[in-house]
């Protein structure tokens, strides 16, 4: 039966368990234990019976093996068109086999599925647009991740990530006290430059409730301050919740369905408690997918919608520029050629390509599209958790070549990436391939370009 000390079927439940797992650096012991982990075929069969429903079963059956999905997959293309990277092959040889064999598979097979599910598919969903039957391998790989996770077969960092959600209600160790302290700290530090700047906490009936990614308070608090500055400039009546502020879901990448539900419900509870007119999420792709697109279903919401209208940051920026809430100084527009990364999670999966292009029309004089773009854009190379899994760094770095070549073809040295995951992947591709580019979220660029209304200026100005 061997259940490992670290690699096992029990989700992380306490801070001590989390720290013990973190202490196994790089998952050295964890992955050794995974080799011995038993496969409970009956449990897999029961889970498949309960959760593998008509859509996925139909998709697995009707695949005509036509190969149209092959070229749609950037991982197939970047890996020398290896037939083993054809999306249909990837899913048929993993989930397809698992279903066919009703869970009667070996440990070795399960570990093979882990490699395919987390290093050969970023769940970017591009293949679904090219399949004549509309079969979406990304959806199926997300599902496979859940089956694997239920048996303890999940990359080390993913188990940590979903464990963080379970312990802290955030993908990182940020407690409510730390979060509130960070909000107060950022407002205080930036008020020197922005008189009257506030980060209002738990304000009821505000026009906007803002949610973000735990990496912001944990490692990049300036991102929170920048959001506050832009709301301040736009004169918005906004707030952040003291709990339920974390919009992301590493549990989604990990396939930890119970943690997905738990996490998104913390956000929905905050919405119900504070009753904002609408909610705005930060410049993050997967947070939007987790909380706006998939979250309502995890939480069992009958209307398939969050408790209040919930928009992505780029939608708010486009609106703020359109309505003149934020005005751009024409002299400060970006003069150099600049390109834009379309995040799969809110562009392909939620149709927001127009919003980002509208923003570019206000802020850039020489905006150049990547090719392909909009819904057809390629994944940054690090989506779906790929960036964060050390074991697959070599494969991830290879995957980054697609984005590198797309960027090089534009001739731009500046890339706007309104998604944390894309931003990280583009930073990492610069570190790896040194092509001489810079990358940025929208917020810091907008602050540099915005016209500051007189009443918000520093007194000595």
């Amino acid at each position: 039966m061997p259940q490992g000390t670290f690699c096992n079927t029990t989700p992380i439940g306490t801070e001590d368990e989390l720290k013990a797992l973190l202490g196994d650096k790089g998952g050295a012991q964890y992955y050794e234990e995974m080799k011995e982990l038993d496969v409970d075929s009956d449990a897999i069969a029961a889970l498949l019976e309960k959760t593998c429903q008509s859509r996925i079963r139909t998709w697995l059956e009707i695949c005509a093996h036509c190969g149209m999905c092959a070229d749609s997959c950037f991982l197939y293309r970047v890996n020398d068109r290896d037939p083993k990277q054809v999306p249909a092959y990837k899913i048929q040889s993993t989930l397809g086999e698992l279903v066919k064999k009703k869970g009667k598979v070996t440990n070795e097979f399960m570990r093979h599925c882990v490699d395919v599910a987390w290093s050969q598919c970023t769940c970017c969903n591009r293949c679904g647009m090219y399949c004549p039957h509309g079969i979406d391998m990304g959806v199926m790989f997300s599902y496979l991740r859940g089956i694997l996770n239920s048996q303890g077969f999940v990359p080390w960092e993913m188990k940590i990530g979903s464990g963080m959600h379970r312990v802290y209600n955030a993908q990182m160790d940020v407690t409510t006290e730390d979060w509130i302290d960070t909000c107060e700290w950022m407002a205080e530090e930036y008020e020197e430059e922005w008189p009257g700047l506030e980060i209002p906490i738990d304000k009821e009936d505000a026009d906007i409730m803002y949610t973000l990614n735990a990496r912001e308070p944990k490692h990049y608090p300036e991102d929170l301050a920048e959001a506050a500055i832009l709301f301040h400039l736009a004169g918005e009546n906004w707030t952040v919740p003291s709990t339920g502020w974390e919009q992301t879901s590493l549990s989604m990448f990990a396939g930890d369905w119970a943690a997905c539900k738990m996490q998104v419900e913390s956000v929905y509870n905050a919405i119900e408690k504070l009753r904002p007119k609408r909610v705005i999420g930060t410049e993050c792709g997967h947070a939007h997918r987790a909380t706006v697109i998939e979250g309502p279903y995890w939480a069992g919401r009958e209307d398939g919608l969050p408790p209040a209208p919930y928009i992505h940051y780029v939608e708010w920026v486009a609106e703020a520029l359109r309505t003149g809430k934020i005005k751009i100084d024409p002299e400060k527009k970006i003069k150099e050629p600049v390109t834009l990364q379309d995040s799969c999670n809110y562009v392909r999966n939620h149709g927001l390509a127009k919003a980002t292009r509208e923003i570019m029309s206000y802020i850039a004089e020489d905006f150049r599209e990547m090719g392909p773009n909009r819904e057809h854009n390629y994944c940054c190379g690090g989506g779906g958790g790929f960036n964060g899994i050390g074991k697959y760094r070599k494969e991830r770095n290879k995957a980054l070549q697609t984005k590198r070549d797309q960027i090089l073809a534009t001739g731009c040295k500046l890339v706007i990436a309104p998604c944390h995951n894309c931003w990280d992947a583009i930073r990492d591709l610069e570190e790896e391939y040194e092509i001489g580019i810079r990358w940025s979220f929208l917020k810091p660029l907008l602050i540099k370009m915005a016209i500051v209304p007189d009443h918000l200026k520093l007194p000595e100005e």
């Binding site: 973190l22 650096k25 993908q171 992301t248 997967h286």
Partner: protein
């Protein structure tokens, strides 16, 4: 896992170049990392941050959030970035011998 040799010392590093064994940390490691981090000279201020990161890590097994770092060292966020241009979560942790933070970073 890769090995790096610098000034007669050998370091085991992970796939992102972070020290795999905290106990292998030594001043030579700082010298090795500082160049790639764009830091010309390690000042007392750098040292203060490195010391705090190491103390916190020894006690908690994880890197502190920036607020805790700022509170305990007295540096404002801007100063932290001036000292460690690639940011506290990356450059400073790497130099202090902490593992790469997990999650979306």
């Amino acid at each position: 896992m890769a090995e790096i040799t610098y000034e007669g010392k050998t370091f085991e590093v992970d796939e992102d170049g972070f020290l795999l064994k905290f106990e292998e940390w030594c001043p030579e490691w700082v010298e090795y990392v500082k160049e790639s981090e764009g830091i010309s000279e390690i000042t007392e201020d750098h040292q203060k941050i490195l010391d705090f990161l190491q103390d916190y890590y020894k006690k908690n097994g994880i890197a502190p959030m920036v607020r805790i770092l700022s509170k305990n060292t007295g540096f404002k966020l801007k100063q932290v970035y001036e000292l460690f241009p690639s940011g506290p979560g990356k450059g400073a942790c790497k130099m202090a011998g902490l593992p790469k933070p997990t999650g979306c970073v």
